[in-house]
């Protein structure tokens, strides 16, 4: 669990390279525990690259190289002894496109818990209900848990993915443009979930929808050309940004 420190993940002087290309330049950023942080910026600015570093999703990318430190609750997640599987259990992820497994809703949620050895039906039942309730999906699917997750609507599928991530009780959830493939109603359901979860869970999200960042996040970080330009409380950043580049980007007068 996140302890007394208010920082869930701390990035310190992070440089990141894909081969010769430097995708991130000296990023230092403390992401607050039990708050929602949004990353914004134009395509190619490094925000998704940075997000994926936060649960070691870039480990297998050929030629990728990281300098600097990323601390999860004070411990370096890139230290030689750190276990990526254990880190991903603590830092869950939800992707842009809903990607439920071609299995029942129930089996989707149980996938992670079963992997770590939970077998008893009674225990799994509790986990499934808790995760689906937390993802604000329980009332909609409680009578059809054995139905294929693929048969659900896009918004429901995305909440299945959220529930699947929550089933392992992570401290942090990373979301990479979680609503860009959803219609407005499904989007508002996911946003509702983010707002409901705030205060209990650390959420870090990448979004291209600036109004979404403004609506649901507590803190916003603006990335541009691999650099962190501005980071601060969302309310301040969207009313009185400190940097001209931020102002130009969020008002749509970029370049």
């Amino acid at each position: 669990m996140v302890t007394a420190t208010q920082t869930a993940i701390s990035a310190q002087n992070v440089d990141f390279y894909y081969g010769d290309f430097q995708a991130l330049k000296n990023i230092s950023l403390d992401m607050q525990a039990r708050k929602t942080t949004a990353f914004i910026g134009p395509s190619g600015c490094g925000k998704s690259t940075f997000l994926k570093l936060l649960n070691r999703m870039q480990d297998m990318v050929p030629g990728a190289r990281l300098a600097g430190r990323i601390l999860l609750d004070g411990t370096d997640m890139y230290a030689p002894e750190a276990d990526p599987v254990a880190i991903r259990r603590r830092v869950g992820m939800v992707f842009q496109k809903p990607n439920p497994f071609p299995k029942s809703i129930y089996d989707n949620i149980c996938y992670g818990p079963r992997l770590i050895g939970i077998r008893k039906a009674a225990d799994l039942d509790i986990i499934v209900e808790k995760a689906l309730r937390a993802a604000a999906l329980w009332d909609e699917v409680k009578d059809s848990l054995d139905k294929s997750a693929m048969a659900l609507s896009g918004g429901q599928q995305q909440r299945v993915c959220i529930a699947r991530a929550l089933a392992l009780e992570p401290e942090v959830i990373l979301m990479d443009e979680p609503t860009s493939a959803l219609d407005p109603i499904a989007t508002s359901k996911v946003e509702d979930w983010i707002q409901e979860a705030a205060g209990n869970l650390t959420i870090i999200m990448v979004t291209h929808n600036m109004q979404q960042a403004a609506r649901v996040s507590d803190f916003t970080a603006f990335f541009f050309l691999g650099e962190l330009i501005e980071y601060g409380p969302t309310d301040d950043l969207f009313t009185s940004p400190r940097k001209k580049q931020t102002e130009n980007y969020i008002t749509g007068r970029f370049g």
Binding site: F238, S240, E247, I250, T251, G252, R253
Partner: protein
């Protein structure tokens, strides 16, 4: 995402606000001429002119709401639109008070027994006019320094208002037949003082719009001034002349 069309609309809105400010300045000039010359015809014309100001406010409000609804502005765009709504509202109030000044002119013209206007009244009026034109210029030219200067001017207007009130009360206590005249003149000074307050609000909005700094209620001029109890009783309820505002 803002478009070239949105930028053009913002430009037009800025022009409308400046035009509205110009119309308010004209209206105040008419009201003051009516007051100095005790010209009842001009006073009536001034009261009529308030309609034009109200129309300006309605149009600006409607346009602003539409732009907010359709463009979801942020940062400087949002500050301009939100601040612009308040600017229009304060300008409209200055228009109302100009109409009230015209009513005072009409009232004074009809009195049989009256004295000369205190010399402080034209001084106050000139200061207020200077504040209004300075504020409108600071809005049109994004001049923060000028806007900041307006905030300081308001203190002088407040001081003159207190002086007029005390002098008039002194005059009335010596010559009771001046009571109706004195009542109108005290209100004239109070109207000008209120205009100064609304102009200060506009200057504060200009600072907010262009810098993001909120100086409302932090500036000492917005704090209440100690009033002599007797004068307070006389002026209370008449300060804004809400009862004869024709909205």
């Amino acid at each position: 995402m803002p478009t070239a069309y949105f930028d053009k609309q913002l430009c037009r809105l800025r022009e409308s606000l400046v035009q509205m400010g110009g119309a308010v300045e004209e209206m105040l000039d008419m009201a003051l001429s009516a007051l100095y010359d005790l010209d009842v015809v001009l006073a009536e014309k001034t009261i009529e002119a308030d309609r034009e100001i109200n129309d300006f406010e309605n149009k600006i409000n409607n346009k602003t709401i539409l732009l907010i609804a359709t463009n979801q502005p942020v940062a400087s765009d949002l500050r301009f639109l939100a601040g612009g709504l308040r600017v229009a509202n304060d300008l409209e109030r200055i228009g109302d008070i100009s109409a009230n000044l015209a009513r005072r002119a009409r009232g004074l013209a009809r009195l049989d027994y009256k004295a000369e206007l205190p010399p402080e009244i034209p001084v106050m009026a000139d200061k207020v006019k200077g504040m209004i034109s300075g504020t409108l210029a600071s809005f049109a030219n994004r001049n923060l320094e000028k806007a900041q200067h307006i905030l300081d001017c308001d203190k002088e207007v407040d001081k003159l208002n207190r002086k007029v009130r005390q002098d008039i009360l002194g005059k009335i206590s010596q010559d009771g037949s001046l009571i109706y005249w004195g009542f109108e003149v005290i209100n004239v000074a109070a109207h000008l003082e209120r205009m100064g307050d609304h102009t200060t609000n506009v200057a504060e909005d200009v600072i907010y719009i262009y810098s993001g700094r909120n100086v409302r209620h932090t500036h000492s001029i917005t704090q209440a001034v100690e009033e002599p109890a007797a004068a307070q009783a006389l002026v209370d309820g008449n300060r804004e002349d809400r009862e004869d505002v024709e909205d």
